[in-house]
């Protein structure tokens, strides 16, 4: 087995387990570990730590193994009721989880041996975790020997991990594995007893097989949740009584078996929890490749349809129509494969919020809604950082300290809600707090000082607030905390979200809270757009920002204060000329079309020579060229194979 092949898989899975670990710890912070809900969290925690340990053992990642082992040992004692988790221990486990995360990332980097900066931390954490173990040592009982009927073959004694879920089913898996090695002559206790309530995970079987004990141990251990397998050759020999039976080998769950098999065992140990594997992990690059191919097919489809239409052969047109439909479905299918539920990113946030709240002495009740809403994977990854920013901001600047809250007649704990909702072709992610709201007076003063608004302005509207606080370098925070207040946050959030074709909206009510909404396209790869022409060039305008398009009549264009405007339904909107934006000479606007663009409250009309219609376009990025207009960051390939630039309306308004 080549561990490098599994490195990425290890990383992905270990990160998932780390999320579970953190969530379980957060839950345990609020409930005692010996109660019902606490008990479940401990179990969850234990399983995740155990799986990480198994995977790391196989991969040979020592630091990860040592940490997870120490955590597991502590947790095993908690599960056995020998110890209850107090606050101190939970925070120790939080530290251990952090170190584990570092160790995971460091171990799985390309040069696992090169650097492990936290090696000392690992050692000291392991010591601290183990410090609570001495008592347990004495209690480790000698495992009782089960009496097997004498017969052919060797006696195999198996102990499952204490607390294994469905020990009977697990034991039967072990028996099934034994059957694949040879003949199982007897099993004690019998299967019915195994499935009964009293089964404690200790059983024995007699196996007549032509393989050596190392093989037996590794094969049976691979069933998962197996703590110990012992092979005893108790066959009566000349001059040797059966009671002289001696253990011939004693190996822990991860024995010296075939490495590949051990690997499978570690990975497969969740098999019982998820009875059917309905999901596979796919390398994103493969999916991207499929996406590119599907996009190419769309382009060929356009060409075919054009050709077929010219031929006027109904059979050909039918066939092309059918192919078109299939190609569209194929593309939708591939796109669907890129969609992931937002919880894949959201589930990291409870920890972020908890840490922020603790370091600032705030009490925060964090609520996540709409975890199952799906978003294009690439997009979701891109918004993770902005969301962290907004959440920390809310804890730092939005939510007040418990004393202030109580004085204001609020509950001491602030409520922070992160929600995702689907709204037609967009997903709206909202970060909402019930804190003090944005300090309008302060922002207004700052805006005046910076000359961003007229000096006589009395009040800033919400969208103006956003514009002022998003200005790079702007901060009203009195102190620069560890978390935010450096004035880069909102600016970074806005530019990232806009680059993704999304919008940011701010609503703030004095004393009652602030909410940031991020409106994002569901996918980055395919967007509906209006194709327009100026001169002999084609451009695509994403429909996200288009409200309507209309033929331009000469009469409705006027000049106000030297600027061209259009009057539509008694509304006066500025006019932009695409010819001007792309550096083509102006022409008479008669017979031109105007595309109405809107972004939040800002609106404008974009004048184009001709409209070619609406299409689903495949967005292709390209390397930005120095000096080139910044409103073009992507292009789409037209049916003739040429590229049409995509106009980013948000950078024009």
């Amino acid at each position: 087995m080549d561990p490098a092949r599994y490195r990425e898989l290890f990383l992905t899975e270990a990160r998932d387990h780390l999320i579970v670990i953190n969530q379980a710890l957060i839950a345990l912070e609020h409930v005692p570990s010996n109660g019902g809900a606490g008990r479940e969290s401990v179990d969850e925690l234990f399983r995740a730590v155990h799986t990480v340990k198994g995977m790391s053992g196989v991969m040979g990642y020592d630091a990860v193994g040592a940490l997870s082992h120490a955590m597991e040992t502590l947790l095993a004692r908690v599960r056995a009721g020998e110890e209850a988790l107090d606050g101190e221990q939970v925070s120790l486990l939080f530290d251990a989880a952090d170190a584990l995360e570092h160790a995971v990332e460091a171990s799985a980097s390309a040069h696992p041996q090169s650097a492990n900066p936290s090696a000392l931390d690992v050692a000291s954490l392991v010591d601290r975790l183990q410090g609570r173990r001495e008592v347990a040592r004495d209690r480790e009982r000698a495992s009782p020997m089960l009496l097997l009927p004498p017969g052919e073959g060797v006696a195999v004694h198996v102990h499952l991990e204490p607390g294994t879920l469905l020990p009977g089913a697990r034991a039967q898996l072990v028996v099934a594995r034994a059957r694949s090695l040879g003949t199982v002559v007897a099993v004690v206790p019998d299967e019915a007893a195994m499935l009964g309530d009293g089964f404690d995970g200790t059983f024995a079987l007699r196996l007549a097989a032509a393989c050596d004990e190392a093989r037996i141990i590794s094969a049976l251990s691979a069933a998962g949740y197996v703590r110990e397998v012992r092979v005893v050759d108790d066959a009566p020999r000349e001059g040797q009584a059966s009671e002289n039976a001696r253990p011939r080998g004693e190996v822990a769950a991860v024995g010296d078996g075939d490495a590949g098999e051990r690997f499978e065992a570690a990975w497969g140990s969740d098999a019982l929890k998820a009875p059917l594997q309905r999901y596979v992990r796919i390398d994103l690059r493969r999916l991207d490749h499929l996406m590119t191919l599907a996009g190419e097919l769309m382009i060929v489809r356009g060409r075919l349809a054009q050709r077929a239409a010219r031929h006027g052969d109904p059979v050909l047109e039918d066939a092309v129509g059918e192919a078109s439909r299939l190609i569209s479905e194929l593309q939708e299918g591939v796109l669907g494969g890129r969609m992931v539920p937002v919880w894949q990113v959201f589930d990291r946030f409870p920890r972020v919020v908890r840490d922020a709240a603790r370091s600032l002495g705030k009490e925060v009740e964090f609520v996540v809604e709409g975890r199952e809403i799906e978003l294009d994977r690439a997009l979701l990854e891109q918004v993770a950082d902005p969301l962290v920013h907004l959440l920390r901001n809310a804890v730092d600047h939005g939510i007040e300290s418990p004393e202030v809250r109580v004085a204001a007649g609020k509950r001491p704990a602030g409520r922070l809600t992160l929600s995702a909702t689907r709204e037609r072709s967009a997903v709206v992610i909202r970060v909402q707090d019930d804190g003090r709201g944005v300090n309008r007076a302060k922002v207004l003063a700052k805006a005046r000082a910076l000359g961003m608004v007229d000096a006589e302005r009395e009040r800033l509207e919400d969208d103006e607030l956003l514009r002022v606080i998003s200005r790079a370098g702007f901060s009203t925070a009195d102190r620069v905390t560890e978390l935010s207040g450096r004035g880069v946050g909102i600016d970074a959030v806005l530019s990232r979200v806009r680059a993704l074709g999304g919008l940011v909206d701010l609503r703030s009510t004095d004393g009652a809270g602030t909410s940031f909404s991020l409106r994002l396209p569901v996918t980055l790869a395919v967007i509906p757009a209006l194709l327009a022409r100026v001169g002999d060039e084609s451009y695509a305008v994403p429909l996200t920002h288009v409200t309507e398009s209309l033929q331009l009549a000469r009469g409705c264009v006027r000049t106000v204060r030297g600027r061209e405007v259009i009057v539509i339904r008694e509304e006066v909107l500025p006019l932009l000329h695409l010819r001007d934006i792309v550096g083509l000479p102006a022409r008479d606007v008669a017979s031109s079309h105007v595309v109405m663009l809107s972004l939040a409250d800002r609106r404008a009309g974009l004048v184009v020579d001709q409209l070619l219609g609406q299409e689903e376009i495949v967005v292709k990025p390209f390397d930005a060229v120095r000096g080139a207009a910044s409103c073009f960051n992507g292009a789409t390939i037209m049916s003739d194979g040429s590229a049409a630039l995509i106009l980013e309306a948000s950078s024009l308004l």
Partner: protein
């Protein structure tokens, strides 16, 4: 020690490009103009579904633009970024030692020029594609 260079011609001038950065050569087709870009940037070319920024090599060095109807685009890759160079003609691969290029006249006070060399009885301008990409792409 000599290294292989691809000799190309554009606007009547010969250029030498280190072969190690040249990935492939494709026929030139219609480009999509990039508004605002420097004049030597011809625009975007669709190469099997990937968009490539194409620079007119001879125009970039003030030697007149490539005009051939069967012009080619030499695709170079440096630091993971691709840049296409539009040329009239692709000649051959020729070995040059570092000492074969001299930077003499003020004409080559351009960081993308590695120097001038001889190719038969003609002068060849050795071009640093990495620097060219750095200057062209943001």
């Amino acid at each position: 020690m000599t290294r292989p260079y691809l000799i190309v011609e554009g606007g009547g001038t010969l250029f030498a490009l280190a072969q190690e950065v040249v990935r492939e050569i494709v026929p030139a087709r219609s480009f999509t103009r990039l508004p605002g870009a420097p004049p030597a940037v011809r625009g975007l070319l669709n190469v099997r579904g990937t968009l490539l920024t194409v620079l007119d090599l001879s125009q970039r060095f003030g030697r007149g633009s490539a005009t051939a109807t069967d012009a080619s685009v030499v695709i170079g890759v440096t630091n993971g970024r691709s840049l296409g160079l539009l040329v009239d003609d692709v000649h051959e691969v020729h070995g040059f030692a570092d000492g074969d290029f001299v930077s003499t006249s003020t004409d080559v006070a351009d960081s993308a020029v590695m120097g001038l060399g001889h190719f038969g009885d003609r002068i060849v301008l050795a071009v640093d594609l990495q620097e060219l990409a750095r200057q062209t792409l943001a």
